[in-house]
């Protein structure tokens, strides 16, 4: 750790800086963990970013990491305090998916990535709040209450990984895991001034990650910097034989290429991402970021993703359809919530599910059921699957001309809690992020300025398995800008 940082409070340091400090024994992981736990204890009532805090386990893991470091057996993230989105199953720790349905659910197994982080020596501080079953863009559908955006506590942090985003932005952990089905990592990262990466579909195992829409869901890192995201992805990415959709492509060291030059990089700007609905100030911020890339040697050209406006309708057929089946297992029989005194089997099912699920989850199950039901399958589900291929083809064609696609992450900055009650309006907030999930591509959101003192996100969409390139571009941007270093006001 450079001396210039030795007086910086621990919660302001990045992972890369903390690893230096731990290695040089400026502080122990136990001290670091205690520091964060104390902050959570004191401050999280302002944000509601955690559902469960696992203080004892965290301290135990921190002491183990300190010992490992003494014995030169430290893993890649030994002693680094992170948080897991409460969608990842944790052995012996309640995993609720922010639903009443799983309020009492303590899985006897770990998600794949939870194991990977534990093996790397990371310290899990707790489980972060989220939209119920990851269905939402505002983190208002949580059974445990809405999460508040640290930049403006009357605003939403975005969703569905809103708790992870708020926890990092409020410096209640240094990094966190998220999941992204239609923008659920990138949108809250944008709204909370963070770096968030949605990897290529199949890059990170889905085993033990509670499914929302299986063909779209992907776990990824949420951090302050692209460098930290690379450190997390090094741990999360990789083949898992328990997930049939897990990719077997080799995993590079994502930190190794962070400092590559951007000379000659071809950036495409999809004209459809700069049209009606985009806040002018966000557009201005994105254009300013593009200028920085040009200064770094990149070339820019306009491209077209002609089926962009079909992405939201396509997604809101496919995701609910898959969810309607994925959530059938919550039936009150083997785990989770069961209604009181069911009078027969049908009553057990219908009341358990009516009482256990929140309104948005029920709406999506019902829409998905409708889209798959006899007489509607072809018009909705099958049609959406066909449109999905057209959307993917748009990207395949674009990547013949450019290396990376850039644009805004969201059309608007964080909106006020309770401001959007109509689901369709809410769904349209995901307009720039959703197509990426349909195509299965990787995408990074990085802070690129402010609008009305609220963070603005720049989205970089890469080709399949081009995470290293996205992180390289993000890191280079962060070496010439300091948007990612801004911290929310009134953060203690």
């Amino acid at each position: 750790m450079p001396d210039s940082l030795s007086n910086t409070p621990l919660h302001q340091l990045t992972i890369a800086e903390l690893l230096d400090g731990l290695t040089q024994k400026h502080f122990s992981s136990e001290e670091l963990t205690q520091h964060y736990l104390a902050r959570i204890d004191r401050l999280d009532s302002n944000y509601n970013s955690y559902i469960t805090v696992t203080a004892e386990r965290a301290l135990e893991a921190a002491r183990a990491a300190d010992n490992a470091r003494t014995e030169n057996k430290a893993g890649q993230l030994a002693g680094i305090p992170i948080a897991h989105k409460d969608i990842f199953c944790t052995n012996g720790v309640r995993t609720s998916c922010a639903s009443k349905m799983l309020d009492n659910f303590v899985p006897p197994y770990d998600a794949h990535i939870v194991t990977k982080f534990a093996q790397a020596g990371a310290v899990c501080l707790g489980k972060t709040n989220m939209d119920e079953f990851a269905m939402g863009s505002s983190n208002e559908t949580s059974f445990y209450g809405a999460v508040k955006n640290p930049w403006s506590t009357d605003c939403v942090p975005g969703g569905s990984s809103g708790g992870s985003a708020a926890a990092i932005a409020a410096q209640l952990c240094v990094a966190a895991t998220g999941t992204d089905t239609g923008g659920s990592i990138r949108q809250p990262a944008a709204l909370c001034g963070l770096t968030g990466l949605k990897p290529t579909y199949g890059r990170v195992s889905r085993y033990g990650m509670i499914a929302f829409a299986s063909s779209l869901d992907q776990g990824g890192p949420m951090t302050r910097t692209a460098h930290d995201a690379a450190l997390l992805l090094n741990v999360m990415a990789g083949f898992d034989e328990r997930d049939s959709t897990s990719a077997q492509n080799a995993v590079p060291d994502y930190t190794a290429t962070l400092n590559n030059s951007l000379e000659g990089l071809r950036i495409g700007l999809p004209k459809e991402y700069f049209g009606e609905g985009l806040s002018p100030e966000i557009e201005k911020a994105v254009q300013a970021a593009i200028k920085e890339f040009e200064k770094l040697g990149a070339t820019v050209k306009e491209i077209s993703l002609p089926n962009t406006e079909l992405a939201v309708p396509c997604y809101y057929v496919i995701a609910p359809a898959e969810a309607s089946a994925n959530l059938s297992r919550f039936d009150g029989v083997r785990y989770g919530y069961r209604c009181e005194n069911p009078k027969d089997l049908f009553d057990l099912y219908t009341r358990t599910r009516a009482e256990g699920f929140g309104d948005e989850v029920k709406r999506r199950i019902l829409i998905g059921t409708y889209a798959l039901s006899a007489g509607y399958y072809d018009a909705y589900y099958r049609k959406a699957q066909q449109v999905r291929r057209l959307i993917k083809q748009d990207f395949v064609d674009a990547f013949k001309e450019v290396d990376v696609i850039a644009g805004p992450t969201t059309p608007n900055p964080a909106f006020k809690l309770g401001a959007i009650s109509d689901p369709v309006t809410m769904y349209l907030e995901d307009i720039y992020t959703i197509a990426v999930n349909l195509a299965g591509l990787p995408a990074l959101s990085i802070p690129a300025g402010f609008m009305q003192n609220k963070p603005v996100g720049l989205q970089l969409i890469g080709n399949y398995f081009a995470e290293a390139q996205l992180l390289n571009i993000g890191h280079q941007y962060q070496t010439v800008t300091d948007w990612h270093k801004h911290t929310a006001p009134n953060i203690e």
Binding site: P107, G208, A211, D243, S244, T245, A325, S328, T369, Y377
Partner: protein
């Protein structure tokens, strides 16, 4: 009025894998409830399926055995419905793109003619768990040990025209699948469960009548009884002016009655769609050929070989090749004894009747009661004249009781036949001397009568020798004596 019956079968066959179709839990039968249901089988949140390669291989083997097309690309779908024995709330199955395409199975009818039953397709899917109703008032207990056991569902065209044909087909199918070894075929354990689709129509009419489906028949007898009953019921309904309602029925083997199932009454909308947790299953030509090369001999080919190699009648060869384990046992006995014909008589006679009496499977019999080698040893003692055929039957039963060395049993039970000519000559002489009247008759009689009288003398002699005299030697000496 004359009616024609139209029958199609859907067969749920458990594949003989060690583990479940999508998880590493054991499929062993009869374990403590819910001890073979892991997080995946219990549909714990976040768990995911991965396809068992052996289940796929068995499905392909079956397809090859019935000359079916193996689809180079097949896919799993989710069939959505709620039931406590279905943990995920959907069954992972194949619909639009099954692994096995159209095929056919030849059956031999009682009148000696043969008929082709077309197989529409066969697809892979997972079995459900079991609901147990006995032990709890107002509640059912759910055991998920069976949940996720790989099934191949085999769907025939409606090609059968009588309960007997359906049973012949079912037996032939059982013979093929057990020969290939893709299932253990243990019907009493639910390894093969038959759903029968039955309709009736007036003779000469082309349009099919409304059909009903009777589910979960797990014995050949139940198939026959359930179809007979259902045909009669349908004819009665129609002749009384009623209409057949398309419904699912449940047959109770204990009471031998069927009734419409309540839970299936409402029209179901299963909302099939491609399972996003599983990717398309691609099988290339090379893999298919590799699997073809491992395919064991099929019953028809084996039957022909038995006829050619062992000089068996078509009937005997058919009986012996109906079940692979029986065929294997027979071949063992034939080879060890070097007497294929005698071996066939013994296996089809004493062995099969013992199996029927004792309700044993041939596999258990061969492993635990009498190895092929042991039966061959008994046969050898007949051919080397140590014992008579009659004594051999006693020895067979004695061996099953004592499991001792065969020669020890022969000695201990005094089963050895007497071939010593001196001793036999003495007995023959005694009997001939004691029956002068019959001797006179014999000498005066024609060929037919002589045979009868010869039987009388042999009987007397065997009785006097306590059954131990070698009948061949007795015959020889007796003839010489009578004709002298």
């Amino acid at each position: 009025m004359s009616w024609e019956t139209v029958i199609g079968l859907e067969v749920h066959m458990q594949l003989a894998t060690k583990t479940k179709i999508f998880s590493g839990s054991s499929t062993e039968f009869g374990q403590e409830p819910n001890t073979q249901a892991n997080a995946i089988d219990l549909a714990m949140p976040g768990t995911l399926p991965v396809l068992n390669e052996e289940a796929l291989r068995y499905a392909i083997m079956f397809g090859l055995a019935i000359d079916a097309e193996i689809n180079p690309l097949s896919a799993f779908e989710r069939k959505n419905y709620f039931y406590p024995d279905l943990p995920k709330g959907y069954q992972t199955t194949q619909l639009a793109e099954p692994i096995v395409g159209p095929g056919k199975i030849e059956i031999e009818l009682a009148d000696g003619s043969s008929k082709t039953i077309r197989i529409h397709h066969a697809h892979l899917e997972e079995d459900a768990g079991k609901s147990l109703h006995e032990d709890f008032a107002d509640q059912s207990g759910i055991d998920l040990n069976r949940a996720g056991t790989p099934l191949l569902e085999i769907v025939t065209e409606p090609d059968m025209r009588s309960p007997e044909e359906a049973v012949v087909f079912a037996k032939k199918l059982h013979s093929i699948v057990t020969s290939v070894g893709v299932t253990d075929g243990e019907m009493s354990q639910g390894s093969m469960r038959f759903d029968v689709n039955v309709s009736v129509r007036k003779k000469g009419e082309e349009k099919l009548g409304t059909r009903t489906e009777t589910k979960n028949l797990n014995s050949f007898r139940f198939i026959e009884e359930a179809i007979k009953q259902e045909v009669n019921r349908q004819i009665d309904v129609i002749e009384d002016g009623g209409k057949i309602i398309q419904e699912t029925r449940l047959y109770d083997g204990d009471t031998k009655t069927a009734r419409a199932m309540r839970s299936k009454e409402e029209a179901n909308d299963y909302r099939y769609f491609p399972c996003p947790d599983l990717l398309p299953v691609v099988v290339d030509k090379e893999t298919i050929e590799q699997i073809r090369a491992t395919l064991p001999e099929l019953p028809n080919a084996k039957k022909q070989r038995f006829i050619d190699t062992y000089a068996l009648s078509s009937y005997d060869a058919g009986v012996l090749t109906a079940e692979r384990a029986l065929a294997d046992y027979y071949e063992g006995v034939a080879k060890f004894s070097g007497e294929p014909k005698l071996a066939a008589n013994w296996v089809m006679g004493e062995v099969v009747s013992f199996l029927n009496k004792s309700n044993l499977s041939i596999t258990t019999f061969a492993n635990e009661r009498m190895r092929a080698k042991d039966l061959a040893a008994i046969i050898e003692r007949i051919t080397d004249n140590t014992i008579s055929g009659k004594q051999a039957k006693d020895l067979f039963l004695a061996y099953l009781e004592e499991q001792d060395d065969i020669d020890v049993i022969i000695e201990k039970r005094g089963l050895k036949q007497v071939s010593d000519t001196g001793a036999i000559e003495k007995i023959v002489a005694d009997i001939v001397d004691a029956n002068p009247e019959q001797v006179e008759q014999y000498r005066a009689a024609d060929e037919g009568k002589r045979k009868k009288l010869l039987g009388f003398f042999v009987g007397q002699i065997m009785k006097a020798s306590k059954g131990q005299a070698n009948p061949g030697v007795v015959n020889e000496i007796l003839l010489k004596k009578l004709e002298s």
